[in-house]
């Protein structure tokens, strides 16, 4: 480790990464994570690899405090539910249906109207809260967690781009994201990708501009480029949704007959909805017009104790790549070649199996 001052463009990277980038710059040896097919594919659209880039953040994640407090006679505290009419801004499902004192269920906006209420006794339902709006609710304690997770993905991504920029790359592609549990209770959020640049100097990125990024495979990037699209960047939508297990939920889960579990449907829909909203917002920040290709989506559910009862959690994560029109599309050799493979179903077709 040297004590010499760190170059402007390498600030924020750990010393080991700085050393590696310096070394790579000096030696000119270019690594890549590409397969032979991938390397050939990107060369055909005027891109060449500059090196592999990496960025990671290790976090310990904790929930400050615990439980939302609904477990302890919240019904009395919120009696009548007057303040909650129409829902807390941002909560899905429109707040708690009428207090037991009135015996009537407030008509919540849209979503719930089609469902059976629990009847006068079981009429109360706890709201679903999403991380975008947790500050205004009893779930404020979960906000630091949700923010830490979305920041971790963003930071790991930015570190990777910093390396790419330092290598003089125009973009990174084939990003592989991983979330690993580290011994000792930490979580590692990491991104690994190949940095590439245009062989045509007129297409090089201006010095101040950030490199573009794509979670698409090199082959996909090549297909997109030859069809006149170029990745603009990666959008990530993360959301945490919470709901206290209410009477209706318990009743529906314990039933003998077939029934849709409204509360959980709502919870998962809310997590996905909020994550997709964030995804679209991020994508729009990257480009006003274009195509957002969602490359991965996942949903994890869990339970947390809340007093004697439980809080249900759902975390949704959507990752996508924004494609924008290519500034100088490579000459297209006619229309795409029509090939009907006589081989068994393609990987893409297999992916779509129920």
């Amino acid at each position: 480790m040297s004590d010499e001052p760190v170059e402007e463009d390498l600030r924020g990277l750990p010393p080991a990464a700085v050393d590696r980038v310096r070394h790579q710059r000096a030696s000119g040896v270019r690594g890549s994570l590409l397969t032979a097919a991938g390397a050939a594919a990107i060369r055909s659209v005027g891109l060449e690899p500059v090196g592999e880039v990496f960025g990671c953040v290790v976090l310990t994640l904790g929930w400050a405090g615990g439980g939302c407090g609904y477990g302890y006679g919240w019904n009395r505290a919120m009696g009548g539910g007057a303040r909650w009419t129409g829902g807390i801004p941002g909560t899905v499902g429109g707040g708690i249906a009428g207090g037991t004192s009135s015996g009537t269920r407030m008509a919540p906006p849209g979503w719930q109207a089609g469902y059976l209420g629990g009847g006068p006794i079981g009429g109360w339902r706890t709201p679903v809260v999403v991380s975008g709006d947790m500050g205004s609710s009893r779930f404020a304690w979960a906000r630091p967690y949700a923010e830490a997770v979305s920041r971790a993905w963003a930071d790991a991504h930015d570190r990777m781009l910093t390396e790419a920029r330092a290598l003089g790359a125009d973009g990174v592609l084939g990003i592989r994201r991983s979330l690993t549990r580290v011994a000792g209770g930490g979580h590692e959020y990491a991104g690994l990708a190949t940095a590439v640049r245009f062989t045509d100097p007129t297409l090089r990125r201006p010095a101040q501009a950030a490199p573009w990024a794509a979670t698409l495979t090199p082959e996909d990037c090549a297909a997109a480029a030859s069809a006149g699209f170029l990745p603009a960047g990666v959008a990530t939508g993360y959301s945490l949704a919470l709901k206290h297990e209410d009477w209706q939920l318990k009743q529906q889960r314990g039933a003998w007959n077939n029934t849709e579990v409204d509360g959980l449907t709502e919870l998962l829909a809310a997590a996905r909805g909020d994550a997709r909203r964030t995804l679209t917002l991020q994508a729009r920040r990257l480009a006003r017009a274009g195509e957002l290709v969602v490359t991965s989506s996942s949903l994890h559910t869990g339970e947390r104790p809340c007093g004697e009862e439980k809080d249900m959690t759902a975390e949704a994560l959507f990752v996508g790549t924004v494609l924008v029109p290519h500034p100088a599309p490579p000459a297209r050799r006619g229309r795409a070649l029509t090939v009907l493979p006589l081989t068994p179903p393609t990987a893409a077709a297999r992916r779509r199996r129920p």
């Binding site: 097919a37 469902y115 029934t259 017009a289 969602v294 077709a349």
Partner: protein, 283 residues
């Protein structure tokens, strides 16, 4: 088929307010032309080539509590309550997805995935999800009218973008995903029956019958759905045995495929030629 022949009014399906706002913004365009799709790049390009424009990712989900049903230990029988649950939950998810597509003014949904995910919440709770990409056609079909099916719903198809392109090229259009399901309890064999056949090569008729029956039921239900759509045929059918979490003897037999109709008289495709790909089986 338990689905009524008359179509649901998609405008009446309740979507989460978040989804409604998002879809509304997307439809209004709101100064942006940004669309979301979960097609791979190749699929996306092929769908465009086929004359369709992706307008957005659509999704429907339902968390369902599957009821309890007792099976007679030694009897082959359909578990009708479980069958019903599998039907109903999938339908809820599909209808919500279709409603999202309707909201976007879509002509159809391609690349639909129908997934069942058992959550950590409990053994009898499963989430049924339908995800696909809503598309709008650039032009009405050559047969005139609309791309939507005879129930006025956007067409749905679980075919990949590649298969979809091929289908349209060959003069067919998808009508809708059709499915048939049957949850079947296969009888246990008593100790004497097991002893009698021990060490011999014989067909165990009881099992054959059960598996036969269950698959036939699932397939005929799928067929009935296709007939209701006045389809010419069903492509890409898969017949799956999904054990879920009911133990070894209770299994869901699930048939799913895409019902198609002809767009024109001839269905000619290019003459096959030999191509040697340099990739490892990846297209």
């Amino acid at each position: 088929m338990t689905q009524p022949p008359d179509s649901p009014d998609l405008a009446q399906v309740h979507l989460p307010p978040d989804a409604e706002r998002r879809l509304h913004r997307m439809r209004a365009g709101e100064g942006t032309q940004l669309f979301t799709s979960d097609l791979s790049v190749n699929e996306f390009l092929l769908v465009r080539e086929a004359g369709f424009r992706p307008v957005g990712l659509v999704l429907g989900s339902s968390v369902y509590h599957v009821g309890l049903q007792m099976a007679r230990w030694g009897r082959n029988m359909e578990m009708d309550r479980l069958t019903q649950a599998m039907y109903h939950a999938r339908e809820l998810a599909m209808t919500r997805m279709e409603a999202e597509a309707h909201e976007l003014g879509a002509d159809g949904i391609v690349g639909v995935r129908l997934e069942i995910d058992f959550k950590e919440f409990g053994n009898d709770l499963a989430e049924f999800v339908a995800i696909g990409t809503a598309v709008v056609a650039d032009e009405p079909p050559p047969t005139g009218n609309t791309w939507r099916n005879n129930r006025g719903l956007p067409f749905t198809s679980d075919l990949s973008g590649q298969d979809f392109w091929t289908l349209v090229q060959a003069g067919y259009a998808p009508l809708g995903m059709v499915m048939g399901t049957c949850v079947y309890h296969i009888a246990h064999r008593g100790p004497f029956a097991a002893l009698a056949t021990a060490g011999t090569n014989v067909e165990i008729e009881q099992y054959t019958e059960a598996l036969y029956d269950a698959r036939e039921l699932a397939m005929s239900r799928m067929q009935a759905e296709a007939e209701a759509l006045s389809a010419e045929g069903i492509v890409g059918v898969q017949l799956l045995s999904l054990p879920h979490r009911w133990g070894g003897h209770t299994t869901e037999f699930f048939a799913i495929g895409t019902a198609v109709r002809p767009l024109r008289e001839d269905h000619v495709i290019a003459t096959p030629q030999l191509v040697l790909p340099l990739t490892d089986g990846r297209w």
